[in-house]
Amino acid sequence: MTLKYLLRKEFTQIRRNPFLPRLIVMFPIMIMCIMPWVMNMEVKNVVVDVVDNDRSTLSQQLVHEIAANNYFSFHGQQPSYTAALNDIEHSEADIVVVIPQHYSRDLTLGNKPQVLIAANAVNGTKGSIGSVYLSQMVTTNAVPTLQALQTNVSTFYLFNRQLNYKRYMIPALFAIIMMMITGFLPTLNIVGEKEAGTIEQINVTPVNKWTFILAKLIPYWLIAFFVITVCLLLSWALYDITPVGNVALIYLLAMLLALFFSSFGLIISNYSDTMQQAILVMWFFVVILLLLSGLFTPTRSMPAAAYLTTYANPVSYFIDAIRTVFIRGGNLKSILHQVLALLGIGLVMGCWAVQSYKKNH
């Protein structure tokens, strides 16, 4: 019964807040409109310098091919390797291709000319993927028949035929949005009441701890529900990407993650005295959870100790499961392990949130 009055209070406060309603609506829209374009690990626009020591028709052909390719942005020809290297040092170029003298002649004679590809590997991914692209081009240019050979090897990409990076990142973005909305807002909530002094008034009332905490959590779950709906709609409207699996499972996962984050936020809030302290602690945990979650990097390639932490990381379970459902179309059975883990962690956190809220010291 009391819950009704407390909930009404929470919703009125959220609505009256000059900032929160706008944040709740604008944040998912901003993230969904911008981030899928930004969080893209495809290597594009690698800046290439070419040193053509041959100046033959064949070498010019190679240069033109590089210049015409989408993945490369042709920076120009340089007279010498040293000059090209200078460009790399000034961050004006990423890769240098040196075509040796007599390239054309050696090719025709059947000798094996050595093309040098020097890549700036400060950004390892860019360097290695860029040089792989380039060497493929050089090889096909040198031995056109090789292209024919390659067609005998057939690669078949499952689930994400076009290797669309957005399809891979959008479910992960849901995790970030949930984290911000259902993690940070509850963190600010109780500690805000502490700062305003209203918590003391609540603490001298006979209100039940569970009721009070539940009244704090429920609004954020409903907000999470709303936010996920907005995200799914935007993903369909903007990118024509829809979940392959059951949408209900996506909601289930989102709600479980919301349970974890809202409880976690309240725990931090209960232990903090000021908003500043609460936000900094929350930020610390969010960054760690996110970096160790497998959102950006595959968890399996982490060091063993770091990999072990993913067993306790709800974000990692969430991302794993939501990608399974969203991209592969997995059913409940295929994500049962993650669902149970999320539920377990969420319930423990929920109990802790109630336990750590003290009406009597």
Partner: protein
């Protein structure tokens, strides 16, 4: 030459006219009081005088310098102590002082003489964090920081709100001392005894100056606001109580609350009878709030026993909470909810249903004459109204006893009187009232009072009994006499 000349100053914030046609002048070395109810425009006036705020109209000259054109010169010469505690809570006393000295390009050593009189009182605590000082000490430190650059004009915005009577007297003694050094002082205060210590006062209300003159003249001219007739100690009310004196609402024996080795509350025992108004007095840091937190089930006692409305404070604190009302020192209604929403929330928590709430809300708002503000946000109400509302909400569920922690801090005398009428009204209805206050005139309104010093109860009885026992003419002097014996001076 006049130290301050204010000429037809006006300031508005959007629709609100904060100041209008304000003109006055202050002589050099004068102790000038600015008095008026909450929201009268005092703080805006101070900010304009200190060149922190630009007036919309009019001109202000401080020490001959215009506050708009010659801001820098003005700022070199004024010291300002804002109403809210404005020092760095995480820095120690000494660090705060050094910091403010550095800001003005001087050092504490250079100006030690200027602050010696005050600073020597807080110097024993120079390594303590400013946030850990008691109310009175904080104000003394703030005053030191405002004086460290040897200003010739000092602005004090309610320097003694929330400070106990002894510390208040000390602070004003210091001000008299500064006056001898030819420092011009402009101070505002809600306390009448402090108003009387000013040479001249200006009464500000709704942004306009209603009168300037000697304190006696102003207090007399606006006596309806400043000296409302004393509350009659109702005979009928006293008689009512006699019938039920045997029943105790609070019984406390040997109650102790220790934080480490520090005994905030040190072995107190007392009883409060049903239906009485019990005044719980003590200096800042004497342990009043801690004791009250134990009685209301917010804190666990370290040792000792206590029963409130028949329940043990150690084990049945959740039961106690069902039968008490509480109004905390910090204003504690939700500012972003309306009047009616706040009432509904707290009534709902105490288990009333919608119909009953609606009915009782209407009755309450009508009784308070407040129906038209039913849907106003609490944040938009003046302080006096907020406090009346908070009190009404705390007794909305008809508790057996209500605890009030400094309910009238910073409120003008007329509003305080109205507040006490509400308290008497509640007592009439059989609600026991347990109240702490720094206003000694309010202490006289109580049926019985206790005075706490250093965590112990040093005196307990009716105001008349205590005055006789200590042979003092009023409670103020009884309190001062007892509080001066305090050994520890800070919480």
């Amino acid at each position: 030459m006049n130290a301050i000349e204010v000429n037809q100053v006006a300031k508005r914030y959007g629709k609100v006219q904060a100041l209008q046609d304000v003109s006055f002048s202050v002589r050099k070395g004068e102790l000038f009081g600015v008095i008026g109810p909450d929201g009268a425009g005092k703080t805006s006036l101070y900010r304009i005088l200190c060149s922190l705020l630009l007036p919309d109209e009019g001109s202000v000259r401080v020490e001959g310098y215009d506050v708009i054109q010659q801001m820098k010169e003005v700022r070199k010469r004024v010291g300002y102590m804002p109403g809210k505690f404005s020092l760095y809570q995480d820095l120690t006393v000494e660090e705060n002082l050094h910091f403010f000295a550095t800001l003005f390009g001087t050092t504490v050593e250079d100006n030690y003489d200027a602050i010696k009189a005050i600073y020597s009182q807080i110097e024993p605590f120079k390594d303590r964090k400013a946030g850990a000082l008691s109310g009175g000490m904080k104000q003394k430190l703030a005053l030191c920081c405002a004086l460290v650059h040897k200003p010739s004009v000092l602005f004090l915005d309610e320097p003694t709100t929330g400070v106990d009577p002894v510390s208040r007297k000390e602070l004003w003694d210091i001000l008299s001392l500064l006056k001898k050094r030819e420092i011009t002082i402009v101070a505002s205060t809600p306390y009448l005894d402090e108003v009387r210590r000013c040479e001249r006062v200006a009464f500000l209300s709704e942004g306009k100056i209603r009168g300037i003159g000697s304190p006696e003249k102003i207090l007399h001219e606006f006596s309806d606001i400043f000296s409302p007739p004393n509350l009659e100690h109702d005979e009928k009310h006293d008689n009512n109580k006699v019938g039920s004196t045997t029943e105790n609402v609070i019984e406390v024996e040997h109650l102790v609350k220790a934080f480490g080795t520090f005994h905030a509350v040190d072995d107190i025992s007392f009883t409060v009878r049903k239906g009485e108004i019990f005044g719980f007095l003590g200096a800042n840091g004497a342990g009043k709030t801690t004791a009250m937190h134990m009685l209301t089930g917010l804190n666990q006692p370290t040792s000792g026993t206590g029963r409130v409305v028949g329940y043990d404070i150690r084990t049945d604190y959740e039961q106690i909470k069902k039968h008490i009302g509480y109004m905390s020192q910090k204003f504690s209604l939700y500012e972003d909810l309306t009047v009616a929403e706040n009432i509904r929330l707290f009534a709902g928590i105490y288990g009333m249903d919608d119909k009953e709430i609606k009915h009782k809300t209407n009755a309450l708002l009508q009784r308070l004459n407040f129906s038209e503000h039913r849907d106003s946000l609490v944040s938009s109400l003046p302080l006096g109204w907020k406090q009346k509302l908070a009190f009404s909400v705390s007794i909305f569920h008809s508790p057996g006893i209500v605890f009030l922690d400094e309910p009238t801090g910073g409120v003008d005398p007329a509003t305080r009187r109205q507040f006490w009428e509400l308290i008497y009204d509640a007592a009439q209805r059989g609600i026991t009232v347990f109240v702490t206050t720094h206003y000694m005139d309010e202490a006289e309104y109580c049926d019985r009072i206790s005075i706490m010093v250093d965590g112990k109860i040093k005196a307990l009885g009716t105001p008349t009994e205590l005055k006789q026992k200590f042979n003092k003419p009023d409670i103020d002097q009884v309190f001062t006499y007892l509080a001066r014996q305090a050994k520890r001076s800070s919480d």
